[in-house]
């Protein structure tokens, strides 16, 4: 761990964070708003990378965990008017419970079966939101009365701080012995088990950590938006974006996932003039990265550094 604080990656990250923290002094509120969303999205992608990149589990349903966190926080605030912080905490807790419920059957199955189970979880959640429209606002969305703050600068700093802390914890976890065991069990579960590691326990832990950060980020995001809707936190398209972000940035790097998410949101904004083709272009770029640079942005950069 001490070596990390002397490494190049640490100084580069520190410089980026310092520059990012001073952005509110010289960029417009519009850019800040964009980056605020991108940072929350970055946490989604990093939590997903912990499961996919390290534990080797294809989770097609990141939005199941995000959506449970977001809607729990939103409904509690909307129905009972509890304070924002309590709602956010309970949202994260609900996501962890949902993660456990999902993980127990899902971890019995592997590969595509696991992927399908998580995909089905999203579809079921989406159906329930629409069916219980009285509580959830249905397809129109849920209005959330409270916000954390209306100051765009403070909102931006909260998102940045949250992302940096999450990144530190998730990256630290991925480099710790637990991360190594996860990686081993993702690549060869039989051998990792033969070495005496309890694979199920480690994967369950990864699932809980991933669920916690996804839910927390989802809950904070709805309090920033002031609304929760299927299209912003549950829809499969949102989940696909999370996956694309993590793959673009580089799997198994955690930090790359955040870069990928920021790139995706900013690129989507730049491509706005192309109208409906924006999604096409982003998917095509992502496909090319998958085909020709399977390591992603950060993977390519790190491997070059490793060679030189």
């Amino acid at each position: 761990m001490a070596a990390f604080f002397k490494s190049r990656l640490f100084f580069v990250s520190l410089a980026i964070v310092v520059i990012a923290a001073t952005l509110p002094f010289y960029v417009s509120g519009y850019v800040l708003g964009l980056l605020t969303v991108a940072y929350y999205f970055g946490v989604f992608a990093m939590s997903w990378d912990l499961l996919f990149g390290f534990a080797g589990e294809v989770n097609f349903g990141p939005t199941f965990l995000i959506g449970v966190g977001a809607y729990t926080a939103g409904i509690l605030n909307n129905q009972y008017g509890w304070s924002v912080y309590l709602c956010v905490a309970l949202g994260a807790l609900a996501a962890v419970i949902a993660g456990l419920v999902l993980a127990l059957p899902a971890l019995r199955v592997r590969g595509p079966y696991f992927g399908l189970t998580t995909l089905v979880a999203v579809l079921i959640l989406q159906n329930f939101v629409v069916v219980f429209a009285d509580l959830t606002g249905g397809e129109i969305g849920l209005t959330i009365p409270d916000v954390i703050t209306i100051d765009p600068n403070v909102n931006y700093w909260i998102a940045l701080g949250f992302m940096v802390i999450s990144a530190a914890i998730l990256y630290g976890l991925s480099q710790s012995p637990i991360g190594l065991v996860l990686q081993a069990s993702g690549q060869d579960p039989v051998q990792a088990g033969a070495l005496g590691f309890n694979i199920v326990k480690h994967k369950l832990a990864a699932f809980i950590v991933s669920a916690f950060f996804s839910g927390l980020s989802g809950a904070l995001l709805v309090f920033y938006f002031g609304t929760a809707s299927v299209g912003t936190v549950i829809d499969i398209a949102v989940g696909v974006n999370v996956i694309v972000a993590a793959v673009l940035g580089g799997r198994r790097t955690v930090l790359g996932a955040a870069l990928g998410a920021i790139f995706l949101i900013v690129a989507g904004e730049f491509l706005r003039p192309t109208g409906e083709l924006a999604t096409f272009i982003v998917s095509a770029v992502a496909l090319l990265v998958v085909l020709f640079f399977p390591g992603g942005f950060l993977g390519a950069a790190l491997s070059r550094e490793g060679r030189s």
Partner: protein, 291 residues
Amino acid sequence: MLAFQILIDGFAISALYALGATGFTLIFGVSGVLNLSHGAIMVLAAVAAWAAASVLHLDTYAGALIGVAVGMVAAFATYFAVVQPIQRSTRIANEEKEIFVLTGTLLWGIMIQELIAYFFTNNAKTVLPIVGGVVNILGVRTPKNEIFTAVMCCLAIGLLWLLVNRTRTGKAVLAASMNPRGVTLLGLELTRIYVVVWAIYGILAGIAGVLLGMFLGVSSYSVGPLTASAFSIVVLGGLGSVSGSLIAAFVVGYLETLTAYLVSPAYRTIPALLLLVAVMYIRPQGLLGRR
């Protein structure tokens, strides 16, 4: 009366599901590929049939044939542009190829979906049926198109069965699904078998797409749900087992029809999804799957 209605409507839907899922499971059984662009290929075929009839003013038969041909071309494009490069890549570790194929075909499907939306808008399109009119079966007014759909699906599945079990090519395909190395040792080119399988898959997906376009109509929004339903049916039946998929298609089709008629159309998909989760708990390999 209602019982017959459910029986007839459920049969047509189930047959369509079965046809859509058969190609999907065939690809997985033979080459181990889960093609997540499946829904996009089906919708593309349907939209091509629609465009041939409404934009180029061809007759419905020509339109349907063009739709099926487009489905086959799209399947080849998927194989040569996405699946094969990933399978041959030296930069992707072997045990990760499955995950990359899933991600790659998912992105490919989104690209097709967005192109359809860009050129033909998101509006729902209904392909002009080849046969029109209604007949009265046991007191249920049934569109002839519905009967046509069911008959075509059964015919296509029957032909596939003949092809796989009674022809030399089919036997090679079957052998490749059991033991790829053995097939190579017997002097058969594995890549050629895969190309044949993708061609069969493209034709099946094309027919299913065009029939779906005639029966229910399609839009670029149906891409995701179509892939998800084929995926669920195939997993429910057991990955790679064609007969399992057929049974699962009828279970899902009738469950949805029953829910839609007896409870509410809004809850249509929920029981099938819950059933799928239950099967995952109790029998993760599906109804007829091998582990």
